[in-house]
């Protein structure tokens, strides 16, 4: 196993790869968070489209969720990364720049992860909306609340209570999809682990460390999610 042990290779001391892996993990978290936020926005818009849109809007939302949920995330990443570069390059040609322009990896990754997870998020929000008792919305209307007040005082708190477990699943999906973004060369956790494995000849140590970091991230996010669930379930008897 070479001359250095597992912990020396991955330490923070001289010659250790610890800082590099940690920066990769931070990049993974940043990518996942921005992808998750985008997914939440997409999910909000499309679930609204599915619930109260007119027919063409509904068809479009249905097509989006069916197609995206049936296609591998990896393919969506390839589409946005290479497709984005294709568009950028042809735009560059218009302005007299003959060279190939590559699409920023972070942006492509965020868009891909957001679009892929947005389809799941749409279904989560839609299911949660139907779990809101109609009487509560009627009561809010009877109080004379405007639609906007209804949304942020009644619908969002109630919706989140029902949607949080599903959003936890979506977050896990996002973390896993974010690992795939390493194929575009973005310097996130998997990519750094690959670099380390390549230059030390110790793939097992590096991928183990990456797996442990992913476990830490998902365990921590699971814990925060449970706290959020408790917060949004105040006043509900279990």
């Amino acid at each position: 196993m070479g001359n250095l042990g597992f912990f020396e290779t991955l330490s923070f001391g001289p010659g250790g790869w610890g800082p590099m892996l940690l920066s990769g993990a931070l990049m993974t978290v940043a990518l996942s968070l921005s992808g998750f936020l985008l997914a939440a926005v997409i999910g909000g818009v499309f679930s609204w489209a599915k619930i109260s849109g007119n027919r063409p809007v509904r068809y479009f939302a249905d097509a989006y969720t069916t197609v995206v949920r049936g296609i591998p995330d990896l393919l969506i990443i390839y589409l946005l990364y290479f497709g984005g570069s294709q568009i950028l390059t042809s735009l560059g040609k218009l302005f007299g720049e003959g060279q190939f322009i590559s699409f920023p990896g972070f942006l492509a990754g965020m868009l891909a992860v957001g679009i892929a997870a947005g389809a799941q998020q749409t279904e989560v929000f839609r299911g949660a909306f139907y779990a809101i008792a109609p009487g509560e919305l009627e009561a809010a209307k009877a109080f004379g609340m405007s639609p906007w007040v209804r949304i942020h005082r009644i619908i969002i708190p109630l919706l989140l209570r029902h949607a949080l477990p599903g959003m936890g699943n979506v977050w896990q999906l996002v973390l896993k999809a974010a690992a795939l973004v390493s194929v575009t060369g973005l310097a996130e956790l998997m990519n750094k682990a690959q670099t380390g494995a390549g230059s030390t000849g110790k793939p097992f140590d590096f991928y183990c460390a990456a797996a442990l970091l992913y476990l830490v991230i998902s365990a921590f996010s699971g814990w925060s999610l449970r706290r959020a669930e408790v917060h949004y379930s105040r006043g509900v008897k279990r």
């Binding site: 049936g70 591998p72 990896l74 390839y78 290479f82 497709g83 294709q86 494995a197 793939p203 991928y207």
Partner: protein, 241 residues
């Protein structure tokens, strides 16, 4: 739209379909067996059985499949003892590693689904089986298992469909499945959108067929939920009369 190019892409992608289907099928079969063992282990009253199973599920569900795949494909070769063991001919090949990691991963997800199904078996049914004097094995085979499978089938259907998509990761370790060929065409021609359209269509068709098959199995497994006369319009049965 450049139809000759789309047609050409489709023809190039077709040879990748058998590999994708093969990987899906074998990993699901192996993963299901392992999932069943894991689910029973997790529900067992003995902690030395339930704790390792819980830990397995936590590890495999908490890490991306890509890490597991790389750990098996690139990682295991680091050890001399693995390279000289009888398993090396399997672990040396990307196909063997892909199959192994896909099965291990789907087993973790599947075991949670099956555990839910097993927990949903009504206690009265088990008591009735005991009262009839059934042995444990007979009870599992005739009562617990059929009810649990029926409960778990819709969720397991979703898992099958996500497995089809998971096989696309094998293209990263050089296997030429549908996604592998698609990625190659994209990097040769830089026409991402067109290739994506054709590839996506193939995946959607595969998923459509699988979800139809699951629905068919579900239909066959739930004769008691069907109206006795087949000509009547389907309506929800089992509500309060």
């Amino acid at each position: 739209m450049d139809f000759p190019f789309l047609w050409d892409t489709l023809l190039q992608l077709l040879p990748g379909i058998p590999l994708t289907l093969q990987l899906t099928f074998y990993s699901i079969v192996m993963g299901f067996c392992l999932a069943l063992l894991l689910a029973f282990a997790r529900l067992s009253p003995y902690r030395w059985l339930s704790e390792p199973a819980r830990c397995y599920v936590f590890c495999f569900r908490g890490t991306p499949l890509l890490v597991q795949l790389f750990l098996i494909y690139y990682g295991l070769g680091q050890f001399e003892s693995v390279r000289h063991s009888f398993l090396w001919p399997i672990l040396r090949e990307p196909y063997g590693c892909a199959l192994l990691s896909l099965s291990l991963c789907t087993a973790a997800y599947g075991s949670e689904i099956l555990r839910g199904g097993l927990l949903a078996v009504p206690h009265g049914a088990i008591e009735a089986a005991r009262a009839c004097g059934m042995s444990r094995l007979l009870m599992v085979r005739r009562i617990i298992f059929p009810i649990a499978i029926r409960q778990a089938l819709p969720a397991y259907g979703n898992e099958l469909i996500s497995m089809v998509q998971s096989t696309s990761l094998c293209s990263i370790i050089t296997l030429m499945d549908i996604t592998g060929i698609a990625a190659q065409i994209i990097s040769d021609t830089y026409r991402a959108l067109e290739v994506f359209l054709v590839t996506g269509l193939i995946y959607l068709l595969i998923n459509l067929v699988i979800s139809r098959l699951v629905m068919l199995v579900e239909y066959r497994l739930t004769p008691h939920l069907r109206a006795p006369v087949t000509r009547t319009v389907k309506k929800p049965v089992g509500e309060v009369h």
